[in-house]
């Protein structure tokens, strides 16, 4: 509804933003489109400060690095989701693709004796193809992303159960070794391999979003698909590419999740798509597409992580408070986005 109501083309890339800000009202202040991101970063800092003041042992490098280690797979999934949402779409299949990846990896490594070196590229390719197929359906037949990826979610979970109903634990030493690997970052703190990969993916994604023709096309499509088409941008290729990228990211997250859990199970990562969407929204990306930052998504994920850590440190609050707080945060950020959208239309 709102996507149709705002046909104004938004700036294609972040590079054109300063020009627009100066044309806006004379006084040089923060461009309103950075406000949600600024709000997220300051809220994250405030929550971290609150935790450090209230709980002993909260303010340590390892606690903050653990945020990254425990949410490495979520960072990767949310980065892929950011691209999809930037084009104005949505991908509900990410959680089940993660589960399918853990399942296929576990089955190949444990039951067929494959080496991780062969398994990992295969599952990554599988995720990419799965996403590309959904992107093709969405683009070619003008189907709603919501429904297509919903069917993809059913399909991927169903395929998990076709492999096995029970959890398959991974005893391969290569996997266990990779899972145990810790990379010291100084001061006695260390990062896991998964966290390092997640940070690498994030940096790569920032470059792709802001420094390549593909990223430019993604923002343009989110602003207005018709305009992007008229400008001669490769809309079809970009849309399919975005879903393929999300599938690939989900598969990579599945690999990281396999390291983290050392098992394959059809019920792994249930509801992960909700967490990823929440992280993207909290990270300041507009759900109507075209506006947002990949880097903001990192803070969205860290925010979810810090809420969980705070609740765990408190001890008196039950785990379901996490969901309620995340829901409330989503509510506040969606309202903020609405106000910015209305404000932009008035100017």
């Amino acid at each position: 509804m709102s996507g149709i109501a705002t046909p104004r083309a938004r700036p294609v890339a972040g590079a054109t933003a300063p020009a627009r800000a100066s044309e806006g009202g004379g006084a040089r202040r923060l461009d309103p489109k950075y406000l949600p991101l600024a709000a997220t970063v300051s809220l994250f800092a405030a929550m971290a400060l609150l935790g450090s003041l209230r709980y002993d042992g909260f303010f340590s490098a390892q606690v903050f690095l653990n945020l990254l280690i425990d949410n490495a797979f979520l960072v990767v999934v949310a980065v892929g989701m950011t691209f999809v949402i930037l084009t104005g779409g949505i991908d509900l299949s990410v959680g089940s693709v993660v589960a399918l990846t853990t399942m296929v990896s576990a089955a190949l490594v444990e039951r067929h004796g494959w080496s991780p070196l062969a398994t990992i590229p295969l599952v990554l390719a599988m995720g990419g193809v799965f996403g590309a197929a959904m992107g093709f359906l969405i683009e070619r037949f003008r189907l709603q992303p919501f429904i297509v990826t919903l069917a993809g979610m059913f399909l991927a979970r169903g395929l998990c159960y076709l492999i096995s109903i029970d959890s398959i634990s991974i005893t391969s030493e290569a996997y266990a070794g990779l899972a145990q690997l810790r990379i010291p970052v100084g001061g006695g703190a260390a990062l896991s391999l998964g966290a390092v990969i997640a940070l690498g993916v994030l940096l790569l994604a920032v470059f792709v979003a802001h420094g390549t023709p593909f990223g430019r096309a993604v923002y343009a499509i989110g602003g207005s698909e018709t305009s992007a088409r008229l400008m001669g941008l490769p809309v079809r290729r970009t849309l399919i590419g975005v879903y393929a990228l999300s599938g690939l990211c989900s598969a990579l997250a599945g690999v990281l999740f396999t390291f983290y859990m050392l098992s394959g199970y059809g019920l792994h990562a249930v509801g992960l798509e909700l967490d990823a969407i929440a992280a993207v929204v909290i990270g300041g990306t507009l759900l109507s597409g075209g506006v947002g930052h990949v880097a903001g998504t990192l803070f969205g994920v860290l925010m979810l992580g810090v809420i969980q850590t705070l609740i765990a440190f408190d001890g008196s609050l039950s785990s379901w408070w996490t969901r309620i707080v995340v829901g409330a945060l989503l509510f506040v950020f969606c309202l903020l986005q609405r106000f910015f959208a209305i404000g932009r239309r008035r100017r």
Binding site: L150, I277, C334
Partner: protein, 371 residues
């Protein structure tokens, strides 16, 4: 919306289809062709086909027998088990008609079940309830109605995208349900409550009557008053509807409120049937099944024309499919894959682009066959 023209729903009568004059011989349509053009034809054919498959593999499938004053049989069983999904699908139909979607229904089912179970309390003597039964049911439905109103206000008042507005309650709702049940599965020992989801009236399960009642109310409101027309108008073109003087906001809020209420009622049926309330798992994936039922019933997700009867048929299709999968001895794990295949098939058939692509493929052989 790239091209709005071929996106129109299938016409009810063959005369009103000007676009496909070349592909079909509309000069003398036979009765079968006419019937197949009806919007409910394909959902009904699907349902009958599934029933036939069931009957073919299980000879006693269509047999309904009268025992101890109750009707027993697979058909009755399917009707009974489809009841919660049918209720949720009815509410979802109204929301979809306004171009919306409500993905929080599963969470609302859990909240309503949790509130009812808490209000009745866990007294094991089986005779006492913490509050009176009417109060407990009223509170559960009231909370569900509030949830629906909340969604409606976010969509119509704050102007959020429906998926996102209801995502908030979907995330928070399960937390709220677990808050009410304190993270436990609340068991209910109060027999009068079991009647709603497990009792019999006139030999038939009571849940069938609940669905019939809700359906009759909604159907009358949609066909005997202008409400149905208004809903379609808002779904087809919100701006035009507003210009024509329809209070679109109030209508949308109302649609979400009814959807919440239906989900609450479904929560009561489920918790009464299993005699417990599980904040974490009650109504899990219900939103997806309900959307599937609505789509199967021929209501387009792009809003506008809707069919309450179609959604009922859609819910029955899903339940019959589940029954078939179980009774054919196929591993139940395949259920999800089959459902995925059904969703893919249905949405491709609903896509005008896909039908055009098919037509291009299909026309050539037809010309060749005619010589």
């Amino acid at each position: 919306m790239p091209s709005s023209q071929p996106q129109r729903p299938e016409p009810v009568a063959p005369m009103s289809d000007p676009s496909s004059s070349s592909s079909s011989s509309s000069s003398s349509p036979s009765l079968v062709a006419r019937a197949l053009r009806h919007r409910l034809a394909w959902p009904l054919v699907t349902l009958l086909l599934l029933l036939a498959v069931n009957a073919a593999f299980n000879p006693s499938f269509l047999h309904v027998e009268w025992r101890d004053g109750h009707a027993y049989g697979s058909l009755i069983d399917i009707l009974n088990r489809a009841a919660p999904l049918a209720l949720v699908s009815l509410g979802m139909t109204l929301v979809v008609a306004t171009r919306g979607i409500d993905i929080s229904v599963g969470a609302v089912v859990a909240i309503s079940a949790a509130v009812a179970a808490w209000m009745i309390g866990g007294a094991t003597d089986g005779a006492t309830s913490r509050f009176g039964l009417p109060l407990a049911l009223g509170a559960a439905l009231g909370v569900a109605l509030l949830c629906g109103l909340w969604n409606g206000v976010l969509v119509a008042g704050a102007g959020m995208q429906p998926i996102i507005a209801t995502l908030i309650l979907m995330v928070a709702g399960r937390g709220i349900a677990q808050l009410v049940t304190d993270g436990q599965i609340l068991t209910i020992y109060y027999p009068p409550f079991f009647f709603i989801g497990g009792g019999h009236l006139l030999g038939l399960p009571f849940s069938i009557f609940v669905v019939a009642g809700v359906f009759a109310l909604l159907y009358l409101a949609a066909t005997r008053s202008a409400l149905g027309l208004f809903l379609q108008a808002v779904g087809i073109n919100p701006t035009a509807a507003r210009v024509a003087g329809i209070d679109a906001r109030r209508l949308v809020v109302g649609a979400y409120a009814v959807c919440g209420l239906c989900a609450g009622l479904a929560g009561l049926l489920i918790s009464s049937n299993v005699k417990s309330a599980d904040g974490n798992n009650a109504g899990q994936l219900m939103e997806l099944d309900a959307i599937l039922a609505v789509t199967l019933g021929g209501t387009l997700l792009t809003g506008g024309r809707f069919s309450l009867v179609g959604s009922l048929i859609g819910a029955l299709i899903i339940q019959t499919l589940t029954y078939a999968i179980y009774s054919l001895g196929v591993p139940p794990e395949i259920n999800l894959v089959v459902k995925a295949a059904v969703v893919f098939a249905v949405m491709l058939l609903q896509s005008a682009e896909f039908r055009d692509a098919l037509r291009v493929l299909a026309v050539r052989p037809t010309i060749g066959a005619r010589r």
